[in-house]
């Protein structure tokens, strides 16, 4: 066992894990906010996430086609793409809620979950159909921007690319905004009130339906932002890409305690770090017998183990109390 080698790559692994973790945290927020308010798994959130990525790639490809991609300042392009992805995913989430979940609000719990699975399948193929007609291809690659691929060497063994920094900064900014929104504003108070007791909230003059729509809008927008960042960071997307990150993000939300916003962030980071560690070290530690392809199994095993010992997640389910 080559200890210096193992330790030497550790900072880089942690950095990669952190990036992945922020991505999961952003997606997990969508699951956890909806769960906090409606107590159901929005299974279609993984597709809402990937729609953000597709809107992002379409805009970037459009700009590239017009020759604008390299002429516009790159932060402007990124902000534009992020906002567009957020808007599209947010609106889609609201529409999905209106069409497929609202009529089922008082049904037994399995029913909206199955409806959500239906929406998830529908969206996957709808994206595929649309992209097949529009571009005659549904595996799309984010156009590269030279600035984003510049790498800084922090030390001899760690380097960080601009796009990784963009992911971290954008994720931190959005998590911060969300924190303020939920805890310091009137809207946030209303969301927390609806999560705590819908009937009482509506007696206090809160329009419950509007607040639920708003929750979907915010959660969807976070998912859309994660989608764009995912595309920028990893490049290749297709309509079915969203499934696994969505599943992992849900795992993260459960890990942190579903319905609990700080929990989703913590769960995302923990899961991202664990996965990066597994991806790099499994193969080294087992002499190549088990490689990075087992990282998914690792993630689910962690979920099962944590649920056995803490069925309510790391920070606990905070459905009553905070959103």
């Amino acid at each position: 066992m080559d200890l210096p080698l193992l330790l030497g790559i550790l900072p880089q692994v942690l950095l990669d894990g952190l990036i992945l973790g922020f991505m999961y945290a952003l997606i997990a927020l969508g699951y956890t906010m909806v769960y906090g308010v409606l107590e159901f798994i929005n299974f279609a959130h993984s597709e809402i996430f990937i729609v953000g990525a597709f809107v992002g790639v379409e805009i970037m490809l459009g700009l590239k086609g017009a020759g604008m991609l390299d002429r516009l300042p790159w932060p402007l392009v990124l902000v534009l793409v992020l906002l567009a992805g957020m808007a599209a995913s947010g609106l889609l989430a609201v529409t999905v809620e209106r069409v497929a979940y609202r009529p089922l609000r008082h049904a037994p719990r399995l029913i909206p979950l199955i409806s959500a699975i239906g929406i998830s399948f529908f969206l996957q193929d709808a994206i595929r159909l649309f992209e097949s007609l529009w571009r005659n291809a549904f595996n799309l690659v984010y156009p590269t921007m030279d600035v984003l691929n510049v790498r800084f060497e922090l030390t001899q063994t760690i380097d960080v690319s601009v796009k990784s920094l963009v992911v971290i900064v954008a994720a931190l900014a959005m998590l911060g905004v969300l924190h303020v929104l939920v805890n310091r504003t009137k809207i946030g108070t209303a969301i927390r009130a609806v999560a705590e007791d819908q009937a009482a909230a509506s007696l206090m003059g809160i329009n419950v339906n509007r607040i639920i729509s708003l929750t979907f809008l915010i959660g969807g927008a976070m998912g859309g932002a994660a989608g764009v960042l995912f595309g920028v960071q990893y490049g290749l997307i297709n309509p079915y890409t969203g499934f696994i990150p969505g599943l992992k993000a849900f795992t993260a939300a459960v890990l942190g305690g579903i319905g609990n916003i700080p929990g989703a962030m913590l769960g995302g980071l923990v899961l991202g770090l664990l996965e990066a560690l597994a991806a790099s070290y499994l193969s080294l530690l087992t002499g190549g017998a088990f490689g990075a392809e087992y990282k998914d199994i690792f993630a689910f095993s962690v979920l099962i183990v944590i649920l056995i010992f803490r069925p309510k997640g790391l920070l606990g389910e905070v459905i009553r109390g905070r959103a």
């Binding site: 159901f40 798994i41 069409v99 497929a100 009529p103 089922l104 049904a107 037994p108 719990r109 399995l110 029913i111 909206p112 979950l113 199955i114 409806s115 699975i117 239906g118 929406i119 998830s120 399948f121 529908f122 969206l123 996957q124 193929d125 709808a126 595929r128 159909l129 097949s132 007609l133 005659n136 499934f243 599943l247 849900f250 795992t251 459960v254 190549g288 017998a289 088990f290 490689g291 392809e293 087992y294 998914d296 199994i297 689910f300 095993s301 979920l303 099962i304 649920l307 056995i308 069925p311």
Partner: protein
């Protein structure tokens, strides 16, 4: 009753004549399937039903198969999915435990025969494989036991979880099994990874039957057993315990239902049906790889159960028939038909079908169709097409 009897006889007679006259017509075969379903559901005397079903399934269907082998393949697949849907029906419909990774047990059964029944076994144990094909019958039992064991293995850690948590963990379990099947080609080659296993041994068919007919009869026999077992279970002590758990876990426990045992039994029973069918599937296909056991398949089986009506045996049969036929015949048939119309240059309302983009092929979009069906069912008829009587009262 008289009317139903007359209609049932007429339906079988007319539809089988139609198939005999137009052996290539999908519509005629669909009519035949509809007639079989009608006989199964109509209010006719028991003897008439058994007689007509026996005539249609044991005599007419193999005859149709002799004309057009593809129909026999469709019928066999319907049978496989009926058994899967009935197995999942126990877990989801009766015990109310949402399992989103059900196809994992099917995979376990399939690999249980595929590995020892093909030269793949040599990679693990050295020599002596493939086992003689007649061992297949023994492995029907082995597949059942291994899958039931896997069901208990999954059930043990998740017993404390409820509803949504359980759903996600079972989904994760399904993915774990698929990833394992995909990657266990090293360090020891268990599953041969994504390349899959082939050739898988088949038992010698008795009476010199062709394999198409042989697997049809085998699947039919298993389905019959599964239906009988299901009906006996439903109103048994255990079945009622399951339904009590579904309705209210705390109340059930207070009434003395042993929660742990009942839940594990539900997982094991449901899994065992899938395990047996997995063994049959691997022998029928001669080749399996992890692609046959994706999340899409699990959702497919789940949508059969939901479409038919959770907890209802005729519902699960109907759902399995409808979804399989939709996938294998209606969508494919529609795609072919659309292509023919396109090639003929037909115009509809001034729109030339030849201008229709080639990407638009209904058979490729089965997920979209599933998705729409699931959502519409949940909104307009959450109890399914043929709901179980008890369940119907509960949902109202």
């Amino acid at each position: 009753m008289m009317l139903h009897s007359a209609l049932a006889i007429a339906a079988v007679a007319v539809s089988s004549t139609a198939v005999a006259t137009f052996p290539r017509s999908v519509l005629a075969f669909l009519a035949f399937q509809g007639a079989v379903l009608f006989v199964y559901l109509a209010r006719v005397s028991r003897w008439l039903r058994v007689g007509l079903l026996g005539l249609a399934l044991l005599v007419l269907m193999p005859l149709i198969g002799a004309y057009n082998g593809y129909y026999l393949e469709v019928a066999t697949q319907v049978g496989i999915f009926v058994a899967l849907a009935l197995g999942l029906n126990i877990v989801v419909g009766l015990a109310g435990l949402l399992d989103l990774g059900y196809v994992a047990f099917f995979a376990v059964g399939a690999y249980a025969w595929a590995i020892p029944g093909s030269p793949q076994g040599n990679e693990i144990f050295g020599g002596g494989f493939p086992l003689p094909p007649s061992m297949f019958y023994l492995f029907l039992l082995v597949g059942l036991l291994v899958a039931a064991g896997a069901g208990i293995l999954l059930g043990l850690p998740v017993l404390r979880l409820h509803g949504d948590y359980l759903a996600i963990v079972t989904l994760g379990f399904g993915e774990v099994i698929r990833v394992l099947a995909n990657n266990l080609d090293k360090p020891i080659n268990f599953t041969n990874g994504p390349k899959g296993i082939t050739p898988i041994g088949r038992p010698p068919a008795p009476f010199g039957l062709p394999y198409g007919e042989y697997f049809y009869f085998l699947v039919l026999l298993i389905v019959a057993v599964v239906i009988v077992v299901n009906r006996r279970l439903e109103d048994s002590h255990i079945g009622r315990a399951w339904e009590a758990i579904r309705e209210d876990e705390v109340a059930a426990q207070a009434m003395g239902v042993p929660l742990v045992r009942a839940k594990l039994l539900a997982f094991a029973c449901g899994a065992s049906f899938a395990g047996v069918m997995g063994v049959v599937f691997s022998a029928k296909q001669l080749f399996i790889n992890p692609e046959s056991f994706t999340f899409l398949e699990s959702i497919g089986v789940l949508s059969m159960v939901i479409l038919g009506g959770m907890g209802s045996i005729p519902g699960a049969v109907l759902g399995a028939m409808a979804v399989t036929v939709l996938n294998l015949q209606v969508l494919k048939g529609f795609s072919l038909w659309l292509n023919e119309l396109k090639n003929a240059g037909v115009t509809i309302l001034g729109f030339n079908l030849a201008d229709l983009p080639t990407q638009f092929e209904p058979a490729k979009y089965e997920r979209m169709i599933f998705g729409i069906i699931l959502v519409l069912m949940m909104i307009f008829r959450p109890q399914g097409i043929l709901p179980a009587r008890r369940r119907q009262r509960e949902l109202r």
